[in-house]
Amino acid sequence: MSTLLEVSGVSVSFDGFRAINNLSFHIGPAEMRAIIGPNGAGKTTFMDIVTGKTKPDKGRVIWGARHLSLLGLSEARIAREGIGRKFQKPTVFEDQSVQENLLMALKNPRGPLSVLFYRPLAAHLARVAALAEEIGLADHLHRKSGALSHGQKQWLEIGMLLAQEPKLLLVDEPAAGMTPAEREHTTNILVEAAKTRAVVVVEHDMEFVRRLGCKVTVLHEGSVLAEGSLDHVTANKEVIDVYLGR
């Protein structure tokens, strides 16, 4: 299988503390992957590195068929290359309506000039409406997103991710603070998305991970501790010691 994202030998330290230690990871073009691991394992930092927020001290991050190195590219450029990210804490533009949030995320030219002259086409509005339907916010299009519930904000952010039409979705703890019913809906959205693109999900909730039904990577102290099916990694003694057993 071809590789969409290849991270190899990446390390990063914060004030001498090694948050990521010689980490290697790769994922194919239409694959779902769950990343689990104890608090502080480096899961979010891993996403920071891939999306250009944090520069690693060493290692390579190679993207796509053209083997583009993502190191040294700006966050905006990496996003335009097709990597979308959902943050651990839901971050939507609270002062703007659901529709405005989605329109901003919708895949369209990002330069100031084209944005200045941009007026939403019927097709774009239809796409936004369809996305809102998918994330269960069809009735809230004109509400300010700040007025949404926590779970709805999480969905809106996932909707914005989908609107970007990225090739790779990095999703940090999407189910945090959701009710069981909301979690199930979220699982469905992610499983659906992974049919056509790569999805990396960081999650603590084992039930949630089980429902994703995908390969699991366990991170610990900044490197990969185990990788395989959920049953495989949960049977691993080291994994039980550092993560599950606690």
Binding site: A76, H150, M178
Partner: protein
């Protein structure tokens, strides 16, 4: 979209009020009407319109994109200097040519030029034209410089600052530093712009010496009203739609905008430069009405006032900026102009000339603390447009949903 109607309505109302205002002032002016409004007050009103225009530019950078620039008034002043150079040059040339016309031998080009230079720069002990006056004889060139000089200065500054991701308070401090440097430079006598004397006599339009100031003041009122109307429309067009969405996104969470793929730094640069040009145009219309432009006008405090106007008027909405600039500058000229009656407390007499700044500072603090939406926020009360206030409340309809405090952890 209902949003459009709302914004469309406020724009139409604003423009209608602006037109009505201009017509009424014209009809009551000395120059073209019944003479109820004095020429000097027509000028004050015309200048106020220019201040409203620069306030709009400030609102675009600060209210919409969250860049608290404390230098936009300096850019406004630069626009004034650029038009002032032509006005002063051309007017002096007229005087020189007419006075030399009686000479037995017709003066050479060099003699005329020397005489103009002597007239203009005599006060700073120089008799030669500095290099920066190279285009002063061309109205077209100076009009272009009105836009170009503030634009290029802001462009270079913004490119350096935004590229290294200077933001927030640090950026504000940098813009103050730029403003301070600029005004200190302008205060020097040998800089070619007459030092602290500044440029004067700008109210006299070359070639129109037989037109009275009463009439000229009305012309400038029209010009300022037109510029403000167009500037307002341009600003509405910019902030309406996706560009405005991106700007407000940058203001609220610029990192998130980056992860959506927008080149945030480029947006800031475009906006900073564009609003600098707008400020320059406003200044070029203001100073011919004021008659004089000098470095004191561009002191750092002036740019801070600009921010205060926008805050009091209500940032993040264009009419708020206009209201703030008009209201505060008019009230302020009333108080500082000695028109406000002193208040005698028996043991102490409050002289408004001295106390006005305290009042202004206090109202700024009060507005910031208790009415962050400013005067413009009053219109929300009329419209009952209220922001969701969910503090501490259940975030969602679901039983298990988190409370807001937990959610932010």
């Amino acid at each position: 979209m209902h949003l459009f109607h709302k914004r469309g309505a406020s724009t139409v109302i604003f423009l209608a009020l602006l037109v009505a205002f201009t017509i009424v002032v014209t009809l009551l002016s000395e120059g073209m009407g019944v003479g109820i409004i004095s020429t000097s007050f027509v000028k004050t009103l015309g200048k106020t319109l220019c201040l409203a225009l620069v306030a709009i530019s400030m609102d675009l950078v600060w209210g919409y994109a969250g860049i608290l620039s404390l230098g936009h008034f300096a850019l406004f002043g630069l626009g004034g200097y650029m038009i002032g150079m032509w006005l002063m040059y051309e007017r002096t040339r007229e005087i020189v040519v007419s006075s030399l016309a009686d000479a037995p031998i017709p003066p050479t080009v060099q003699e005329v030029s020397d005489a103009i230079a002597n007239q203009i720069f005599g006060v700073v002990g120089s008799t030669e034209f500095p290099l920066i006056w190279a285009f002063a004889d061309s109205l077209l060139a100076q009009l272009m410089l009105v836009v170009l000089v503030p634009g290029v200065l802001a462009g270079v500054f913004g490119w350096l600052a935004f590229r290294s991701r200077v933001a927030g308070v640090y950026l504000s401090i940098l813009t103050q530093a730029m403003t301070l440097a600029l005004s200190l430079y302008l205060f020097q006598n040998d800089n070619g712009l007459r030092g602290n004397n500044g440029l004067s006599g700008l109210q006299n339009l070359p070639g129109l010496s037989d037109v009275s100031q009463a009439v000229v003041s009305v012309w400038f009122l029209w010009g300022a009203a037109l510029a403000l109307g167009l500037g307002y429309l341009l600003a509405v067009w910019v902030v309406f739609g996706k560009f405005g969405s991106v700007l407000r996104g940058i203001r609220d969470d610029e990192a998130r905008v980056r992860f959506l793929g927008y080149p945030v730094e480029t947006y800031k640069l475009v906006l900073f430069t564009g609003t600098a040009c707008m400020a320059g145009i406003a200044g070029a219309l203001y100073y011919p009405q004021a008659g004089i432009v000098n470095p004191a006008e561009m002191a750092p405090i002036a740019s801070i006032y600009l921010a205060v106007w926008v805050a009091i008027g209500g940032r993040g909405r264009l009419y708020g900026a206009v209201i703030g600039a008009a209201f505060v500058s008019l009230v302020s000229s009333w108080f500082t102009g000695g028109q406000a009656p002193d208040v005698s407390l028996g043991f102490y007499t409050i002289k408004w000339v001295d106390w006005w700044l305290v009042v202004l500072g206090l109202s700024f603090v009060l507005v910031t603390l208790f009415a962050p939406k400013g005067i413009g926020g009053l219109f929300d009360l009329l419209e009952r447009r209220t922001a969701p206030d969910r503090h501490g409340a259940d975030l969602g309809p679901d039983q298990g949903a988190l409370r807001e405090k937990e959610a932010s952890e």
